[in-house]
Subunit: 179 residues, 4 copies
């Protein structure tokens, strides 16, 4: 039998079919209004709907890890995010996340030195409420994840920040570099 070692080609094929991974963790991005209780809550992620609305043609793999307000994230939750980023075969990952502790998760991912392009994003207004920055931010995050070199970034307010130089200004709600 004549065998041929095709493993060098496998990575080519997997690259040719490599999607961008979108990991969902919740945050204001995906909150909805529950009319019976008058409270905000989580149901299903709207990311597939947003990708359709944006008429996106990028190959994506959407996976919901959790649906929580980032103020309620524990270190165990952040470890879960890091381990999914590490173990998945994709090398380009967008993570939707609550804005309040996005920088903490970014820091954990940065320190893990994963050699992948990982972009965290979120929204200040729930996508379902109409006047949302969610659609704009997801478009930006998906663009950055395709064009930035390996590293961990936060994409908010139209810009990108490296994981070790970003924080959310709690008074204004905008993201900025550390001084």
């Amino acid at each position: 039998m004549l065998t041929y070692d095709v493993t060098p080609y496998l990575s080519f094929f997997s690259f040719a079919f490599m999607a961008i991974k979108i990991l969902i963790t919740g945050g204001t991005f995906d909150k909805e209004y529950d009319e019976l209780s008058g409270k905000l809550f989580f149901k299903d992620t709207h990311v597939p709907e947003i990708l359709e609305r944006g008429r996106s043609r990028i190959k994506t793999q959407v996976r919901t890890l959790m649906m929580i307000d980032s103020l309620e994230m524990t270190e165990a939750d952040r470890d879960l995010i890091v381990s999914h980023c590490k173990q998945c075969k994709e090398t380009q990952i967008v993570v939707t996340h609550g804005t309040d502790t996005m920088e903490a998760t970014a820091r954990k991912l940065g320190k893990a030195k994963l050699n992948k392009t990982i972009v965290l994003t979120g929204a200040m207004v729930p996508y379902k409420f109409g006047s949302s920055d969610g659609l704009f931010n997801l478009g930006a995050a998906l663009a950055f994840v395709q064009s930035l070199p390996a590293g961990v970034y936060v994409a908010m307010n139209g810009k990108y920040f490296t994981w070790d130089n970003v924080r959310k200004n709690k008074s204004s709600g905008f993201f900025e570099e550390l001084k």
Copy 2:
């Protein structure tokens, strides 16, 4: 008198304050519905409103060059776009444009070899109509213009294409590479 030549520093300062130029040319992106005639028409650009909705903090300079359907663009119109891109001091430029002849303007800009990062984008549904890809596309275009090297690109459907390898598929409405 002792003088000091500060010109080398001026470009540093202007770079530090360099905005992203957004040139508006119209297209479906900015169309509106005129209830008295029942027709679509152009009024003012919505780009400033979109930047606000996206809670954008990038320094931008918005300039309306024309408000037309790109099917009505003449070579003189395209020459105007090229000359504005050439003459403005900004080195990062987003051009909003009708999708029907976006590739023609991209080609003209590419051949001009301007040594700037220029990204064309548009929308399939008017921003004013609700179910628009405009917000998503502008977020993507602004991200690409910050992260891609000098060159001319089309940003549609979540991806970017180089000016010499793109066309709009008239049947599906999606953008794709030339085979």
Copy 3:
């Protein structure tokens, strides 16, 4: 055989289950934007969606007669509307209609002396475009059809007009009484 004449009770039962008929004829109310051609067109009526959005609990029967711009209505089309209003068992009918010739259909219905409460309504902006008066007008029309005595009315701009005292002001787009 002992028989019992139940006919006097039949009308009671039918009244107990009598819905409000909603006859759809098209008009700006139901127009949509076709992104491939860039034109406005008709697909399916949005009235069921609007009733859901209004959390309506009225019993309604929705029937699409045609989906056309009222400028293209012929006398045969109007005759069809009149005959449906006459033949259906419901005594409360809302007709969605283009605003341009709504008064012509109202006049035809008024002269038919049908002894039912018939309310015509429409919209100046397509429901699908967001900034629509459609939702407001349908709420008003359904309210008027439940509370006004038998007659033919136009419900637009928050008010109601009798069929013999209404016209659309073509300059302003608003409905008014004849002087």
Copy 4:
């Protein structure tokens, strides 16, 4: 001096110019999302905006009495609503109100026997959140207040209920008659 008693004519003139009074008390109808705190709160009423969106041409007088969740209404608050309804010169009044205790305020108004047409309405979803019944309900309430005889009514879910035969079903969120 020859005098002429014109008082009989005054009421004619005031009737000719009589507006519909719209009293605002808050409720889900007018809630907004505060992106910094992530909570729902009240700012200004949206009723003028809704009347514009509905292209309403009815003469209305909008007056904000309070902006609260109806669960927080006290008897003093309800007394204030009753006294404003009593003292204003208008004989047709719409009251926007939270749905949770709308029936309590309706009852208080009904027992006051004011000999005016008063219609209470509200919304299950904030107007600002897009998928709102507010626009539909206000169109209905304004229609009912013009066509129903003197009395106190609740207009929700497309219907009207008399003040002494209505309650909100807390499980379903819909309004219904008392059995």
